[in-house]
């Protein structure tokens, strides 16, 4: 039973791998077709949220799934991204695209700062610091009234434009934007995962001591993982602020961090497909079970518990059985070092 299901998965994966360009083109076509599909407003909003949370999940996944550092404070990065972008646009009237990029860069810088204590702390203690970080960010947003407007939040955020054409929720082009961002992030994550950096990260996750002994600069890679994760989350935050007219500190609380974490865990740790699935499941769930009224979130909790009991690796988290593909660059590097063609291990991970 188990064998046969493995074979199906394996066939499925090699199928996906062989036709990956076809899928990419299909995804692009579908994405650009969105505004002409005549989706209702509710569905557009739902799809936007799913894509947004998939992207947030990918950001956190870099940290948890690849490097094995558990962060409970991603809402903090998310908030910094959203506020940076919103404030740049409203106060300094910076162009959206530049603001989005700056939001990512600034969040990455904060990620660098938060990454520093990660060298001293391990395991649960690191999670606790990130949790505290999220609360502190929230406090600053509420306190620093001259800049962030405190509890009232930032209002009147303009919509992004492309050559004078406005992207809004109503014409569906914001959905196109987030789908594109999500696609780029996904591809970038996969590329990173199979690069030198990604291998170093996964080595740290498996055994930090051994990774250090193999000559991996673990401190550098841990901080780098924080920076990349914060960058992705910051961009997602920057996008979030333009989907709404205003943002307030209460959009970014501990529960948001937990939701992002749940996306990563429920979908499947360390995978990209899992992020999309997890985001879809966790966003659709409260919609489908609307008839349960107040019991809805009880069932939501049950879902999390049952998931952990019966499928702790996540819905789509299975071990890949594909042969490991070394990138051309890595092969060239090995060849330059005078080593013979790298032995191809039968399975990766």
């Amino acid at each position: 039973m188990k064998k046969s299901s493995n074979r199906i998965l394996s066939t499925f994966e090699s199928f996906c791998y062989r036709f990956r360009y076809v899928f990419a083109v299909l995804f692009l076509v579908l994405t650009f077709a969105v505004p002409f599909m005549g989706l209702s407003m509710v569905n557009i909003q739902l799809l936007t949220l799913i894509a947004l949370y998939a992207m947030l999940g990918m950001g956190l996944n870099v940290l948890i799934g690849y490097t094995g550092l558990v962060s409970l404070g991603h809402a903090g990065f998310y908030a910094i991204g959203a506020y940076t972008c919103a404030l740049l646009m409203t106060k300094l009237s910076v162009n959206f695209w530049i603001a989005l990029l700056l939001a990512g860069v600034f969040t990455a810088f904060i990620g660098f700062l938060l990454g520093l204590p990660s060298l001293r702390l391990s395991g649960s203690y690191l999670s606790i610091v990130t949790l505290g970080f999220c609360e502190v960010v929230n406090m600053i947003l509420k306190q620093w009234e001259s800049v962030t407007n405190g509890n009232y939040g930032v209002r009147g955020i303009p919509k992004p434009t492309v050559f004078g054409f406005q992207l809004t929720m109503f014409n569906g082009w914001l959905l196109v934007l987030i789908l594109l961002l999500m696609g780029i992030t996904g591809v970038a994550c996969l590329a990173m995962r199979n690069s030198n950096t990604g291998r170093a990260w996964r080595a740290i996750k498996d055994d930090e001591l051994a990774a250090g002994m193999m000559g991996i600069n673990t401190s550098r890679y841990k901080i780098l993982s924080f920076v990349v994760s914060a960058f992705i989350t910051g961009i997602a935050g920057g996008f979030y602020c333009v989907t709404r007219d205003y943002i307030e500190p209460n959009n970014f609380v501990f529960n948001t961090s937990i939701l992002i974490l749940s996306v990563v865990i429920v979908g499947g740790l360390g995978t990209i497909r899992g992020m999309i699935f997890g985001a879809a499941l966790l966003q659709l769930f409260p919609q489908w079970f609307r008839f349960l009224n107040e019991w809805r979130f009880v069932v939501y909790g049950l879902l999390l518990v049952l998931m952990m009991l019966f499928r702790p690796q996540g819905a789509l988290g299975w071990r890949s059985t594909q042969p490991y593909h070394l990138s051309k660059y890595a092969r060239k590097m090995l060849a330059d070092k005078g080593e013979p063609e790298a032995p191809q291990p039968p399975a990766r991970q």
Binding site: V129, V136, L269, G301
Partner: protein, 280 residues
């Protein structure tokens, strides 16, 4: 002092499992609700608290038995435990806010001001504060005695040091952990009752913020060390009051986390923490 009471519960569970129990805050709220329920049914205050204590203990015990024990059998990763406790916390908190069982609105809780307030100079101490303080101390002494003097306590400490070795020595590790959860839950119920008695409200999400802050307090004091969490609770409580006084009342809530981050960076294991905790 309320933080200290809740922090003790976190500390107990973390000490043994190295697990952040996110459901602790909801159990705290649950305990408070149970006291409220039985009190409004006409049960006097002290028996009501005792019933709530047992019920909350059983709730925590059941949570461990049903959700966490199977995970331990499968040797799951820490993060699965974490998500499980979050899920349980969702279940408890939202069951409390379901309309037909309770309501999500704030309700008035009977005051625990049994004695008239005591005045020393121009400082007035409410008796509910005094009771909270005394009960926290008594609870701490009892828990310390249980951990240090009884056979169960010995088993708890053995499990903490090395659960595999403890199992080989004939300790029923699962029972020990379940018992720890029971104690944690019971202490949360006491904390909930006293907290509600002081502020005179109950509401389903009351455990959320205090849970996080008490957790910070437990870590500040060195998690896993019982007297550490009391000191941590005091540090956080006093820090909050000072911050509210001198910086602004808005700083009050996150102050716990500022203290937490500063202390963790200076002393990664907390004020009284043991060295060498590397389990993830």
């Amino acid at each position: 002092m309320a933080y200290a009471l809740v922090a003790v519960g976190y500390s107990l569970v973390f000490g043994i499992l190295r697990l952040i129990n996110f459901a602790h805050g909801s159990i705290f709220a649950f305990g408070s609700y149970m006291v409220f329920l039985f009190y409004s049914l006409g049960v006097p205050m002290i028996p009501a608290i005792l019933i709530a204590l047992v019920l909350s203990g059983l709730l925590a015990f059941g949570m461990d038995k049903i959700t966490l024990e199977p995970l331990r059998k499968k040797n799951s990763e820490t993060i699965t435990y974490l998500i499980t406790t979050v899920g349980v916390s969702f279940i408890i908190q939202n069951t409390l806010s379901v309309q037909y069982v309770f309501t999500s609105e704030r309700q008035v809780f009977p005051s625990t001001n049994v004695f008239p307030p005591i005045s020393i100079g121009n400082v007035t101490i409410q008796s509910s504060q005094l009771i909270m303080f005394v009960v926290a101390l008594i609870l701490l002494v009892i828990l310390t005695l249980v951990v240090n003097k009884t056979k169960m306590g010995l088993a708890m400490r053995a499990t903490e040091q090395n659960s595999k070795a403890a199992k080989l020595m004939g300790v029923n590790v699962n029972r020990v952990i379940a018992f720890t959860f029971f104690m944690g839950g019971a202490s949360a119920a006491i904390a909930g009752a006293l907290y509600s008695g002081y502020y005179q409200v109950v509401y389903p999400t009351m455990g959320y913020l205090i849970g996080l802050k008490a957790f910070a307090a437990a870590v500040v004091g060195g998690i896993g060390i019982l007297y550490g969490s009391v000191v941590g609770g005091l540090v956080v409580g006093i820090g909050e009051c000072l911050a509210a006084q001198y910086i602004g009342s808005n700083v009050r809530d996150p102050m716990a986390f500022v203290i937490l981050i500063v202390i963790l960076i200076i002393k990664p294991n907390g004020l009284f923490g043991k060295k060498g905790i590397t389990k993830v």
